[in-house]
Subunit: 312 residues, 2 copies
């Protein structure tokens, strides 16, 4: 017995890691009668066509949203305002318009005013990703056990929110609802600050005088390589995030700088007790994340192991 | 046809992640006629006995090194000096004495003067590990494709260095030889600074006023969880490392602070071009590490994926 899909037509604007993963997951779960995709670059559109994981690829956002019941912008946050302007006249009455951006305040400010009153605007952020990008990088399992945060404006129709929540739950995500401003503060610490720090330290290591780049790469298993993963994330996406969430990021940076000064002082003074106390405390935090199902319990992230060499 | 093991008797002082991995790997590869282990705590010694992966467990370091051809200290660097004093009178003539500490200058200074002239003192550092510790955490494959850095003092017998290098190669490691001082500078950037930064940011996230700890844990997949891995490393070991490699760590911290200030200024001024240029550059560094076989090419460190939920 087959049931009607949750949405008759799903339009995805953008087909990078997130857009491509939503498409694959929505298709696997039968969530849309038809999936229509557009992307800015002709090369991406051609590749999506070749991949064969969606029903139709069209040239413009205006064309993509036509008759769509759910429209999701899967593009860098800096591009959301202009796309809202472009699609607004072509949206179907009653459609849900959403996005996947890592900053929500700016998306609300830059998209909201352009959208017609007869659509449901529900900004969203799936807290999931890998360091890869582009149309080939997506996969259907990306959102499983991850959180998708919805930040509907206060007057949003609860039935539309619930329908979008059902969409995300069906592709494996947990759904949380919060205010856009609070989202931006939470993500500044759990995502934006870590990326900024990782981008910084990877750059620092690359420019030293006394240690060569070859040495940094060779001996990176001492901890450095962990940071290179998120520092390999999409540069356009991350430029936009830091510009869009400036205040919250600068606030978290201030707190980080205070703590770094404290630990630096402990090292300078040889205060082993202060160091030990700090290091002991942080261990419990990873256990908490593993217990919540947000991290693997396997050592070293479960990185694959090679077999021992043959005995000589 | 069986050949004689490389060492008649291997003594391991300490049985945490590194000691336990050396024992398991050396046994798997048949590198020692007998493996003798000691550890400071009676609980660890009892557990090693239960595990059954070594030949003998003894109560003291003095007893462990008796008649050993290879002695490896697998303990925090701060404990190496006192143990050198303890074992010196009991070492076999011609034995190789080594360690696995993450700082080499201090180990040379604190162990070297106490050891007799008739042993070969060859400090070593396998650049490998996980966030786990204790006698159960070791595994035979830990050192495969990782680098083990040897820092023999200038007048060391090359045959002894080669013999120790063969030991490490046989358990899967690549071997590099360098001066202790240079090692400490290289590791300050590839290991010690990353750990300090990770310990800092994980502490920062835990103490915010506007974001709860529960939120930090829940939404950690945005990048934060990566940092919690190395911030879950053994506190005693890391306290000792920062105290022992203070100057090099402070130097690297200075370079990091300059770069962080530069990026912070770019965010404050809304300089998207500067951010983009930096973020683009760091991506290439991860590719270099993957190409060198020091990191998996799988997205997200190869973290395991769960299946999609059943369609409703």
């Amino acid at each position: 017995m087959s049931t009607a899909p949750l949405f008759q037509r799903l339009a995805l604007i953008g087909f990078g890691l997130i857009g491509g993963s939503i498409a694959r997951a929505a298709r696997a779960q039968g969530l849309a009668g038809e999936i229509v995709v557009t992307a800015r670059s002709p090369a991406t559109r051609a590749r999506v066509q070749e991949l064969g994981v969606v029903d139709r690829v069209v040239e413009t956002s205006a064309e993509a949203v036509k008759d769509a019941d759910l429209v999701i912008l899967c593009i860098p946050v800096g591009a959301c305002g202009p796309v809202a302007v472009e699609i607004a006249p072509h949206l179907k009455a009653g459609a849900i318009v959403s996005d996947v951006g890592s900053v929500k305040g700016m998306v609300v400010r830059e998209m909201g005013p352009h959208l017609p009153d007869n659509v449901h605007f529900i900004p969203a952020h799936p807290v999931a990703g890998t360091e890869h990008s582009g149309p080939d990088s997506g996969f259907a399992e990306l959102f499983i056990n991850r959180w998708c945060i919805l930040t509907p404006p206060p007057d949003t129709d609860p039935a539309a929110v619930e329908k979008l929540a059902t969409f995300w739950r069906t592709i494996g995500a947990n759904v949380e609802i919060m205010a856009a401003e609070h989202h931006d503060l939470v993500l500044a610490v759990t995502s934006h600050l870590p990326h900024l720090i990782a981008y910084t330290i990877v750059g620092t290591a690359d420019e030293l005088e006394d240690v060569t780049q070859a040495e940094v790469l060779k001996f990176s298993a001492g901890g450095f390589r962990d940071f290179t993963r998120i520092a390999a994330s999409d540069p356009t996406m991350w430029r936009d995030i830091f510009l869009a969430n400036k205040d919250a990021v600068l606030e978290m940076l201030g707190a980080f700088q205070e703590d770094l000064s404290k630990l630096t002082r402990a090292i300078r003074r040889g205060d082993g007790e202060a160091l030990f106390d700090h290091f002991k405390r942080t261990r419990a935090i990873r256990r908490g994340i593993v217990d919540l199902g947000q991290e693997t319990a396997s050592p070293d992230f479960g990185r694959p192991l090679a077999p021992l060499p043959k005995k000589t």
